[in-house]
Every structure is written in C-alpha cells, then in structure tokens.
C-alpha cells in the first residue's frame, strides 16, 4: 500500500511555544486515520499545518508524492485536500446552496458542479429541503452536514475533519460517524481528529495518540481501543 499523506517530523511554533514537537504519521489511501488527544495536544494545529493555514517550522508533508509544505491554502485545496473545520464554520449569512458553491470555489467545471450539488442533496436530503435557508439558521447537526457537503464539493482525495462531533447531541454524533463510514466505503480517504476517542477509534483503520505536541502511541483502532493506557486516559476505564 502506498501512503497518500506522509508527515515527517513536523514542527509548528506559535510565537515561542512549540505546538508540535516533531510528529510523524502516515495516511494510507482509502483508510480512516484518526488522531486523538486532549485539548491543546496539537490536533487542530496538525490539520491547519497540512491545510497551509499556519506556517510550519520544520519537517516534511508529502501528499501523493509532492511536498506541500510551501503551498498556501489555495494550492492545498487544489491538490485535493479539503478541510471540515472545527466548530463547523459554515457561512452563516449565505444560503445552503451558496455554501455548497463556495466549496467548489476552485473548480471551473460548471456542469459537474451542478451534478455535485445534486449528489450532496441526495446524501443529505435535509440540505435540499433547506436549500434557500441561511446556513446560520440550521441546527448544529444540519450545519455539520453542510460543512461536510461543502468540503466534498471540492472533490477531495483526502478529507480532513476537525472534531465533527463537537457540541452535537449523542444521536446526531451517531449520524455523523455513520456518514464518515459511508464516505470511506465510497473510497474517500479521511483524516479524522476527535476528542470523542471512543467513537473515533471504533471507525478508524489506523490511529495515533497525540500528547502535548508528540505522538505517544499508534496502532489500529482496535488495538488502541484495547490498550489499557488509552482506556484510562481517554475512554474512562469502564468503557468497552
């Protein structure tokens, strides 16, 4: 198997603080890879560094054989990496349809964009019903669907999701994770960041534990679910 995304010894500084102290991980094509960890472990920073939203201090990020460290956010999207940002961040004052169109901002193939929008509507019929509604008026779960749909509009090879379950009701969280599995079954590679370690590990092929800017453990999702240290730190020892 070939690694789609290879991160090597990545370091990111915010002012004088080292947010990432040299992390390395691989994302294989067609897999769900998850990074779990507590607040401030550097999870979001990792995604932002890959997206080109923050500058890296050193290290290498290789996507499909190309070094994307020097790329800005626009070039990264053009390479085929889309981000579902933390806290959804849909455009509140744009309609659902406009949000989806913004997702396809870098694409120029108008007809296929139209088809893409129909695809998203088929996947999320709720969005179709609310096509003309302002995104700010949607419920949290609907906004998360929209955020996923918006990212899908870029036709990404790699979809990065930053805490998609954040602030959502447990039932909605279940929906979101079934969406993630569905996307995987359609061949989309997913890099998932979660605090909800339990749910994330259950659907992950490969998982990494991030602690204060370092990767401390890695393995398949099942391995980490069974690991006593992970259970103590992230799952609560009663979880199974």
């Amino acid at each position: 198997m070939s690694g789609m995304l290879k991160v090597k010894d990545l370091r990111v500084n915010y002012g004088g603080i080292e947010a990432l102290k040299g992390i390395s991980f691989d994302v294989e094509q067609g897999q769900i890879v998850t990074l779990i960890g507590a607040n401030g472990a550097g999870k979001s920073t990792t995604l932002r560094a890959i997206s080109g939203l923050v500058k890296t201090a050193s290290g290498a990020i290789n996507f499909l054989g190309r070094d994307i460290i020097p790329f800005n956010a626009q070039q990264v999207v053009a390479e085929g990496i889309a981000l579902v940002p933390e806290g959804r961040r849909v455009f509140d004052n744009l309609t659902v349809l406009e949000n989806l169109k913004i997702g396809a901002y870098l694409r120029t193939d108008k007809e296929e964009i139209e088809a893409g929008i129909e695809d998203i509507y088929q996947r999320f019929p709720r969005l179709k019903e609310r096509e003309w509604q302002l995104a700010g008026t949607l419920s949290g779960g609907e906004q998360q669907m929209l955020a996923v749909g918006r990212a899908m509009m870029a036709r990404p090879k790699l979809l990065m999701m930053d805490e998609p379950s954040l602030g959502l009701a447990p039932l909605v969280v279940k929906d979101i994770f079934s969406i993630i599995r569905e996307l995987k079954s359609e061949g989309i590679t997913i890099l998932l960041i979660e605090q909800n370690a339990n749910a994330a590990l259950r659907c992950a092929d490969q998982a990494y534990v991030l602690e204060t800017g370092r990767i401390t453990m890695s393995g398949t999702g099942e391995e980490l679910l069974a690991d006593q240290r992970v259970r103590d730190a992230y799952l609560g020892s009663t979880a199974r």
Binding site: F91, D92, I102, Y105, K110
Partner: protein, 371 residues
C-alpha cells in the same frame, strides 16, 4: 450559476426601475429645471453610487473603510483636470501659467480615468492598510483621506491641481442637455444622464455581488478562516474589492464635480465620508436597494425638506421656538440616534427590491434566494 433564475420578482423590479427613469425623463421636460426635485435627484444619484460602493466594502466584504471622501476627491480632481477646455485653462490656472496639462479628454473617458486613478491609489494604499483589521483599518483609511486632501492643496503640485484654488469651467450635468441651433435647450437630459451613469455603475456592482467573486466576498465577511480553507485567497480578494469600490467612489467623485460645477480639495472632508456612512447605515448594511433609497431620502432631507428648520418660522403671530441656523443638523443627529437605537437594520436590512416583491406575494419562505 447555470440555473439562473430570472423570476418574475426580478423582472418586476427591473420594470419599476425603468418606469422611474421614464418618469424622470418626462418630469424633466415639463418641470422648470430650477426645481429642487432635480437638485435632489442629481446629488442623490451621485451619493447613491458612492454609498453602494461603500456598501460593497462594508456590507458585503466586511472591510470597514472610511476613505471614501479621499477617493471621491481623486476622482473629482482627475475629472476636472482633464476636462477643462484648453481655452479656459489660462483663466482657471491663473496663478500657474495655465497649468501643465494642455489637452482635453471627452467627458466619459475622463470619468473612467477618474475611477482608474482612484483604484490605483486604492491599490497602493491597500498594500499596507489591508493587513489591518476592523477599527484599525478604518483609522488608517481615514488618515489616508486626510493626507490626500492636504496633498492636493500643496502649492508645488499647483500646475496640475491648481493648489488650493478651485477647478472650474469643466463640463457639468447641464452640458448633457441637448441644445438647438439658437442655444435654447430642446431636450433636457441633465438629470437623466447622471441617474443613468449611476444606475449602470450600480448595476455592475449588483452583478458583481451575485457572481462567484461576490459570493467569495460574502464568505470572507462571514468567516475569514473558513473562506481561506475553501481555497479563497483572502489578500487578493480584499484588494480587488477595495480597488473596485474605490473605482466607483472615483466615478462618484467625478459626478460630484459635475454636480457642484467646481472642485476644491478642502470640501472633501471627513464629514462627507460620514454622510455616506450614514446613508449606508440608514439604508441597511448589505442592501444595495437600501443604500439607493436612503441616499435620495438623505439628500432630499438635507437639501430640501428640512431646510425650513434653519429659518425662523411663523405660525400666525407665533414664532416657532428653537428654529435657527444649524438646527437642521441637530434634528439629523437625533434621527441618527433613533435609527441606531431602534432600527439597527436600517430601512431594508439585507433585503433587496425583488425580495420585497416576493414578500408582498407572501412567498416569504423563498425570500433572499437571490439578490
């Protein structure tokens, strides 16, 4: 984009606008040209264009710029400098030996040049200023407008700008009237043409707002980081929006020059920017229709309807108290406070004319579909 929905509400709006133009044309032929109505329409058309250009920045892109007067000044001067007839230059530039520029451009080319000059300045000032956010950007652009005002009055630039003396004798709105052989006006166009110029420019801005580019601007206003993550280049989009807005402010400046018939740098004060900001706020930040309606209302009030507040008024033998020179401005300030306190959305909020028509028909659920 493909499914362009030109629905009936949009068509009705277009018909309304067209009807207004016809009404103005007819009125102009029959009502004496000295009527206040035409003064208001001419100045209102000018202010509407500048207000919409400011709305493009403040309401749609989320860039809070207060440089409008500065860009209008540039536009007004460029227009004046290049359209004064060569024969009149000796009179206008009497202290500068007729000035440096010794040719004259056609009116419409000069107007476009006005816009381009303002856009060029916007590009240059935007390089450092657009890195700033919200209030800081407002202060920096305000400072820029002040510097421009001082610069254009500088004696060393006199051969071009006529220093602190006014530019005059250039073509004005009255030159749009078609005159017969005997010099009598045959067809009055002095109000219609400025309204048309302003209308075309505003039309271009509306198309822009509804384009992919405009959607990206609104996305930037909502959430810069998410917009960047979608692949929208923040810096270049903001710069382009700033230049486009300034282009139309420059054209507006040229129109103001034609309206005033003279141009003097010292009249382009911060107060002018505030007037336009006021129009934008009263009309509704994020509504082109609102900006247009409120600029005509504002100009009508300040030039016409509220003039009586500045003079002594007698009702029979009773002299109305408080009315004296300057009282109009007090009333204005009160109106502003009432708007800000109770009608923060302004007249239109973020709605446009077609939305209103849809609303009247009770199709509220589909409101805001397209602007």
């Amino acid at each position: 984009m493909n499914r362009k929905k030109i629905d009936s509400a949009t068509i009705i709006s277009a018909v309304i606008v067209l009807a207004l133009y016809v009404a103005v044309f007819v009125a102009e032929q029959f009502i004496p040209a000295t009527s206040m109505l035409f003064t208001v329409l001419k100045k209102g058309a000018t202010y509407a264009l500048v207000a919409v250009s400011m709305n493009l920045l403040n309401g749609f892109t989320g860039i809070f710029s207060l440089g409008q007067a500065g860009f209008m000044l540039i536009g007004a001067y460029v227009y004046g400098i290049f359209t004064i007839p060569v024969l009149s230059r000796m009179d206008v530039y009497q202290y500068y030996n007729g000035g440096l520029v010794q040719f004259t451009l056609p009116v419409f080319i000069a107007m476009i040049l006005s816009g381009l000059a303002a856009a060029l300045f916007a590009f240059l000032i935007g390089l450092p200023v657009l890195r700033l956010k919200s209030d800081y950007l407002a202060i920096a652009t305000l400072g820029f407008a002040e510097i421009i005002r001082a610069l254009f009055q500088w004696d060393k630039l006199g051969p071009i700008t006529n220093g602190s003396n006014m530019l005059r004798l250039f073509p004005t709105f009255n030159d749009f009237n078609i005159r017969g052989a005997d010099g009598q006006v045959v067809v009055y166009l002095s109000t219609l043409v400025p309204l048309l110029i302003s209308g075309v420019c505003i039309g271009v801005i509306i198309l822009l707002i509804n384009s992919t580019f405009g959607r990206a601007l609104r996305a930037i206003k909502d959430d810069e980081i998410a917009a960047e993550a979608m692949g929208i280049r923040l810096a270049s989009h903001k710069r382009l929006a700033f230049c486009i807005s300034s282009f139309f402010a420059g054209v507006g400046g040229a129109m103001l020059a034609m309206y005033q018939t003279t141009v003097q740098a010292k009249s382009f004060t911060t107060a002018m920017t505030y007037e336009i900001l006021l129009i934008v706020v009263i009309g509704g930040i994020g509504s082109v229709t609102g900006s247009c309606i409120s600029s005509f209302l504002f100009v009508a009030c300040s030039e016409w309807w509220l003039r009586f507040l500045d003079q002594k008024q007698m009702i029979g033998t009773f002299e109305v108290p408080l009315l004296r020179n300057g009282f109009r401005l007090v009333v204005f300030s009160i109106i502003i406070m009432v708007v800000v306190l109770f009608f923060r959305q302004g007249i239109m909020g973020t709605k446009e004319l077609p939305d209103l028509i849809r609303g009247l028909r009770g199709k509220r659920a589909k409101g805001g579909a397209d602007k």
